[in-house]
């Protein structure tokens, strides 16, 4: 049986393809609409980025490529043997440019796609927090009065800027990681070791 690899259909897909091609590994053709794609001895699952850890944790996929931001939010019980070096971004707290620091407010209202990460960030710093969970367009929330600030990923910071926000604290740095199911790692050791070493060699130093 071939190894099954879960890939995010989102922003990590292009970087994953570059890396797999560089490593001489097969990769699904980009124009396809199929969600389960067997290619030359590997089987790929194309899923939403937040779902990659779930497929791997349950062992439906042996490995996957997930951003560290997603791993921090989902906290899957998986191995994370390789920092693949692409998809670099930062998880930050951003608030409206020039807004007074809300240290005085009793509760921080934060809009985010990362409710667990956002809540932990403020609670660990002794701040009460009210998390507004959104599925996208998080940058709108402060301007519309839905929240005081947001916790989101930024690459260039342009989207924040266009929405009148500025990063004020870094929560974590993120990049794409190879994640491996715990049982697959042990029970299919040789195949997994082959994949890990091919990707390690191909990744940018």
């Amino acid at each position: 049986m071939s190894l099954t690899i879960a890939l995010s259909k989102g922003k990590l897909l292009a970087g994953s393809e570059d890396l797999f091609r560089k490593a001489g590994l097969p990769f699904p053709a980009s124009e396809g609409r199929r969600l389960v794609v067997p290619v030359d001895g590997l089987r790929f699952l194309l899923v939403k980025d937040m779902d990659v850890p779930t497929y791997v944790e349950h062992g439906v996929a042996d490995c996957g490529i997930a951003g560290r931001d997603v791993l921090l939010e989902m906290e899957p019980d998986v191995y994370e043997p390789v920092d693949l070096g692409f998809g670099r971004c930062r998880l930050v707290v951003a608030r409206p440019r020039g807004a007074a620091r809300a240290d005085g407010a009793s509760t921080v209202r934060v809009a985010t796609k990362y409710p667990r990460v956002a809540a932990a960030h403020f609670l660990e710093r002794g701040r009460s927090v009210e998390v507004v969970r959104l599925a996208g367009s998080v940058e709108l929330a402060p301007g519309l009065g839905l929240a005081d600030c947001i916790v989101d990923v930024v690459e260039t910071g342009r989207t924040l800027e266009e929405n009148g926000l500025e990063p004020v604290e870094e929560v974590a740095a993120s990049s794409a990681r190879l994640i491996v199911n715990r049982a697959s790692y042990h029970a299919r050791r040789e195949e997994i070791a082959g994949l890990v070493s091919a990707l390690e060699k191909a990744r940018r130093p």
Binding site: E57, Y79, N181, R182, A183, H186, A187, R189
Partner: protein, 370 residues
């Protein structure tokens, strides 16, 4: 009637109910595993379902424990784990019994678990504890028993991954890290995340050779040849090497005894429950994404109950074994053939006939016909 069912049939999250094939499969797994435990001369203990909360030693299980206040104001807990209970019984009720003691259990533990891979709030565990014996012999014995259980159940391609918490502990011996950093470090080693290990180490907090060894731990896993590689990687860390030598001895003993198949070494296996002090291991198999069981050595737990002695144990999760056997295509036991239908011309006569058949060992279904 179409629409909502009666509100009382709603099931709370995390609980399970089994019948038919599932129930027969579970019963048959339990009988076979318990048969192996008995075959190695372990004695069954049926411990209480709840006890004082402070009996349960694991900090890691604390947030998952269902605890409640008893009528006298004492804090009680539904058992989240058997090992602490058996240690208490060995030190208390069995205080007069000489070591070594070989004890086993089979029953439910209760834990608050978020709904995720292979976890329910009510888990059925079958396990044993070897208390107060020679550590080297006891470690080898419990691993041999774990392997026999999986063999007897017909599990294909299982792997026993061995580690030793003393490797991680030995590397950091004499180094003071704040508890949050230590926990973060342990978690990143366990995740085999070399980049994360580097990030978790505060600058200058540990000597360079220790930092390098911690990073190397994330890749030291595989067949027993990894032990030689580890020996070189840990050359400058004497305390970690003591643990490594213990681990190598266990692996060697098992190989010499013909148990080398499916044996792997995984030095980043450091998590476990926090009472482990030495050997730790987990059992994996293809077709199931998570371990089916695991165990380890806990030489300091018994001292909490006033009877210090070394100990080692392991458990297998019945829920996970049942899922694994199903996925590996092993059929559950067949249902019993139909029972003989017994009727009578009057209720008393019929009942009497049914009882006669029962006395002769016949399965009957008693049906009253007027």
């Amino acid at each position: 009637m179409n629409g909502a069912s009666h509100r009382l049939v709603q099931v709370p999250p995390g609980v399970q109910c089994f019948l038919g094939d599932e129930a027969r499969r579970r019963r048959s797994i339990e009988e076979r595993v318990v048969g192996v435990f008995e075959g190695w001369d372990y004695e069954e203990i049926i411990p209480p379902l709840f006890d004082y909360a402070d009996v349960f030693a694991s900090q890691a299980l604390l947030p998952k424990t269902y605890s409640f206040v008893g009528r006298d104001g004492s804090l009680l807990a539904l058992r989240p784990d058997f090992t602490s209970l058996l240690a208490k019984i060995a030190a208390g009720r069995l205080a007069g019994r000489p070591a070594p003691m070989r004890l086993y259990y089979s029953g439910e533990v209760l834990r608050y678990e978020p709904p995720r891979a292979g976890r329910q709030s009510e888990l059925y565990q079958m396990g044993l504890e070897h208390l107060g014996g020679d550590p080297r012999a006891a470690d080898a014995e419990v691993l041999a028993i774990a392997a026999e259980c999986l063999d007897v159940l017909g599990v294909r391609g299982f792997v026993l991954a061995l580690g030793h918490v003393g490797v991680f502990g030995g590397l950091l011996a004499g180094i003071t890290l704040d508890p949050a950093t230590l926990e973060r470090l342990r978690e990143r080693v366990e995740a085999k995340d070399a980049a994360g290990v580097r990030e978790a180490l505060p600058a200058g907090a540990v000597p360079a050779h220790v930092a390098e060894a911690l990073v190397r731990m994330t890749t030291l896993s595989g067949d027993v040849t990894v032990l030689a590689e580890a020996e070189r990687a840990l050359a400058s860390c004497p305390q970690a090497r003591v643990a490594l030598a213990e681990l190598a001895k266990v692996a060697e003993t098992l190989q010499l005894a013909g148990l080398g198949r499916g044996l792997t070494v995984d030095l980043s296996e450091v998590r476990g429950l926090d009472y482990y002090t030495g050997l730790v291991f987990r059992a994996y198999a293809p077709d199931l994404g998570f371990e089916v069981g695991g165990g380890g050595r806990y030489d300091t737990l018994l001292a909490r109950f006033g009877r210090p002695m070394p100990a080692v144990g392991f458990m297998l999760g019945l829920d996970r074994l049942a899922l694994l056997l199903e996925r590996q295509g092993l059929a559950p036991p067949a249902p019993a053939p139909p029972a003989e239908i017994v009727t009578g011309s009057g209720l008393a006569r019929g009942l009497e006939r049914a009882r006669d058949k029962r006395a002769a060992g016949i399965r009957v279904r008693f049906e009253e016909r007027s």
